[in-house]
Amino acid sequence: MIDSLGWYVAFPEILLLVMACVIALVDLGVKTPMRGATHLLTMLTLAVLAVFLGFYASSGATVVAFGGMVVSDPMGNWLKCFATIALMATLVYGRQYASQRDMLRGGELFTLSLFALLGMYVMISGHNFLVLYLGLELLTLSSYALVALRRDDLKATEAAMKYFVLGALASGFLLYGLSMVYGATGSLGLPEVMRAIAGGEATLKGSQQVLILGLVFVVSGLAFKLGAVPFHMWVPDVYEGAPTVVALLVGGATKLAAFAIVIRLLVEGLMPLAFDWQQMLAVLAVLSLLVGNLAAIAQTNLKRMLAFSTISHMGFLLLGLLAGVVQGDSGNAANAYGSSMFYIVTYVLTTLGTFGVILVLSRSGFESDNIADLAGLNQRSPLYAGVMAICMFSLAGVPPLVGFYAKLAVLQALLASSQPVYIGLAVFAVVMSLIGAFYYLRVVKVMYFDAPTQTAAIEAGFDARSLLSVNGALVLVLGIVPGGLMTLCAQAIASLMA
C-alpha cells in the first residue's frame, strides 16, 4: 500500500464528474425527442469507465490515497465496473420507456443517473466514515430526484416523498451511529477505527456501550439502505411508484454500492465487533427471508412482487455476511464475504433482465407492471418470455442458472462454520426459498400456460432487444460456467481481508 496524493486513484470519479457536467451542458443544445446525442455521450462515457475500471480491477493492486480518504482495491473496482455496466443496461432498456413518458424532455435522466453513479463510486471507494457518508448522500439525493422525475404522476410523487422521508431518516441513523463510533474511537478512518477497537483503546475509555449503541444505529441505517426487514417499508412503494427505469436503477446498480458500504463499514471498520453485528444481521436476515417471501406471494403487481423478492434476497445476502467470524475465528471470513459478493453481483444481473423485460413490454400509457399483463407472453414473443423465465428460475435458485450458485455459495459459507445455529439458518433459508419458488413459478405459469390478453405488437429498439438477449444468455451461461466470476469475487474479497 502506498499512501500518496495519487490523483490517478480517483481518476474514474474525476472523469465521471467532468463528463456529467459536460453532458449536462451539451444536453442544453439537444432538441431531438430521444436525446440521441446525450444518450450517445453518456454511453460512451460509461463504456470508457467500465473498460478502465475492468483493467484497473484485474491488476489486483490496492492503493490508499488522499491521506487515507479513499481506497482503490479489486473489490471496489469490480463493483464500480459492474455498477457502470448495470447503469448502461438500465439506460438502454429504459430509453424508449422514458421517452414515451415525457421523461426525456430534458436530459435529467442521464445527468442525474451519472451523478447517482458518482455517488456509488464514492461510496464504494470511501475509506473514511465521512467520505462514505458523502457518497451515500450524493447517491440518494440523485435517486430521490430521479424517482420524482415524472412530477405530474401521482404515484411517482408519492413514492418520491416516502423514499425521501424514510431515506433521510436512515441517513440520520447512519450518521448518528457513525458519530458515536467516532466518539468512542476518536477517528473516522476505517483502519484507525479498527485498530482502536481491536487494540482495546475504545474499551479502556469505558466507551464500549457507546460503541455498541453506535453500531446498532449503523446497522439500522445500512439495513434501511439494503431494504432488510424491519426497515423495508419504502422498498415496495418505491419499486411500484417510481418509473420502472428508475426502479431498476434503485434496485440494480445501487445494490452493488449498498453491498460495498456494508463491507467497508462493518468488515473493514468494525470487524472486531463482528460478534455483535452478526447477531443483528441474523435477526435482519431471518425476518427478511420470512416477510419478503411470504408477502411476495400475495402481490399482483409485478414490480411490487419483485420488491418483496428483493427483500428476501437481501436476507440471503446477509446470511453470507454473518457467517464470517465463528467464535472469534475469522478463517471463514473471506469465503463468506466472497459468497455474498457473488450473490449481489448475480442478483443485479438477474434483476436487470427482469426489469428489462418489463421496460420493453411497456408502451405509452401502459405500464405492463401487473403479473397478469405477461399472460401468454410466450406466444407473443418467445425471446422475452425466455429471458424472463430464465431470470425467474434463476431468482428461484434452480440450477443450472446462476442464482443457484449464489445460494450454494452462501449456504456453503453457513455450513462451513459447523455451528448448529448456522446449519439451522441454512435449513430455514432453503425452506424459505421453496416458498419463493412458488411466486417465481407463477410468473412463468402466466407467461407460458395462460392465453394472451394483450395483442399489441412489442416494439423495442434493436439495442434493447439484443442487450436483453445477451443478459438472459449470461444468466444461463454463468450458470453453466460460474467458476470465473466466483473466483473473481473470492479473490477480490481475499485481497481486501489480507
Binding site: 449456504l411 459447523s418 432453503v430 466466483m486
Partner: protein, 491 residues
Amino acid sequence: MGLLSLAIWTPILFGVLLLAFGRDDQAPMVRWIALVGALIGLAVTVPLYTGFEIGSAAMQFVEKSIWIERFNIHYHLGVDGISLWLILLTAFITVIVVISSWEAITTRVNQYMGAFLILSGLMIGVFSAQDGMLFYVFFEATLIPMYLIIGIWGGKNKIYAAFKFFLYTLLGSLLMLVALIYLYTQAGGSFDLATWYTLRLGGTAQTLLFFAFFAAFAVKVPMWPVHTWLPDVHVEAPTGGSAVLAAIMLKLGAYGFLRFSMPILPDASREWAWLMITLSLVAVIYVGLVAMVQKDMKKLVAYSSVAHMGFVTLGFFLFSDLGMAGGIVQMVAHGFVSAAMFLSIGVLYDRVHSREIADYGGVVNTMPNFTAFALLFVMANSGLPGTAGFVGEWMVILAAVKANFWIGMAAATALILGASYSLWMFKRVYLGPVGNSNVKALLDINAREFLVMALLAFMVLYMGIYPKPFTDVMDASVAELLRHVAISKLP
C-alpha cells in the same frame, strides 16, 4: 470429448437449436430434426454398452476435469453396471417419445421437442455424474423442462399438476442440497463421490443425512406416503410427459438411493432398513389395492407405477445381491413397461379424448392389432413370466423370502394384485362388445404407432426371455456396492 459427454450434450444441443431457431410454421421439419437428434443421442450410447467391460466394478468411460475451482467441483462422469442400462433406457425412450408425439402435438412443436431433448440429456447427466454437485445440478435442472411440458401441453388441470410436481420435488431436493454441502465440508472440501464413500460419519449425522436424502429420493421414486403428487401429475401430463416421467424420472430417485444413501451412509441405511421395507410393502400392497378401484386409466397406471417402484426400493433395502440386482432390473423393466402402458393410453386418448375406463369397451373389435400389443404390455405389467415385468419382481421376491418369509409373502401378493388391476382394466377397455359409438369409429394404429408399439414390445419380450445382457453388466457393481454397505462408517 468422451462418449458420456456426447450422450449428454448431443440431445441438449439439438434441443437448444430447436428452441432458438424453430418456428411454429416449420413443424414438420422440427419433428424430423428432433428425431435425428434423438437417434444420434441413442447411437452415441450404444458404444457404451458394446465397449463396457463386464465383470469390472470400476467406473468406466471416466471423464474428469475441474468445473468450478472455487468449490473444487469437478465435471466428473462415469458409468458402471448400475447406471449403464438406465442411460441406454433414457436415450431409447427419448426416441420413442419423439416418434409417438409426431401427430399428437401440433402447437409450439419446437418447444415441446426441445424440452424433451434437453430433458433427455439432463437425465443421462444424472445417471453418469460422479460429483455430488454435478449430480444435483442435473437432478434439479430436469424440473424446468418437465414443469413446462406439463404446464403447456397438459390436460385440464395442468397448472395445479405442474406446480405440485415442481414444489413437491423441490422441497425434497433442497434438503438434499444442505446434506450435500454438509458432506462437502466434512470431506474437507470435496464433492467427489468416491471420497464420500470413504468418509467416516457419526451415527446422528448419518441418520440426519439419511433423512435429508430420503426427502429428495423418496419423493422422486415416489414412496408411500409421499407419492400423492404422481397420480395428479400423470393424469394431466401429455402422453410423452407421462411416459418419460414414469419410465425415467422415477428412476432418478431410486438411483439416488444406490449412489448416495446406501454407500455413504451404510449404518443409517441398515438401521432404517425396516422403515424402508415397511414403506415399500405398503406401496406394493396398499397402493396396489388403490390402483384397482381407479376409473381413470392413467391414474391406474400411475398407482401401479408406485407399486412397482415399491418393489425396487424393497429389493434395495434387503441388502442382498439378488434383491439389489432385482431392484435394478425392475427399474429398467418398469421403464419399458410403464412407457408402453402410457403410450397405449395415449393411442386411445388421441382418438377418443377420454381416459375414463367407462368410455371404452370392446376396443378389440375395431383395433385388433393395437389390442394385441396392449395385451402384451398389460401382461408385462402384471408380471407374467416371459415378459420384462417378471424378471425383476421374481428376483426381489426370491431375495425377500430368503431374508424373511413373511416379507416375501407380502411382496408376492403384488403379483396377484398386479394381475387383478391390469387384467380387469384390460377386460373393461378392450374386451366385450363394442361399448359406444366412439369405440365403433376407432381406426386401428397406423404405421408410426405400430413402429412405437413394436419397438417397445420387442424390448419387453427380449428382456423377459433373455435377461442375461441386463443382469451380467450389473453383477460386479452390485457386489461392490454391497461390499461398501457392509463396512461400518462410524468413527
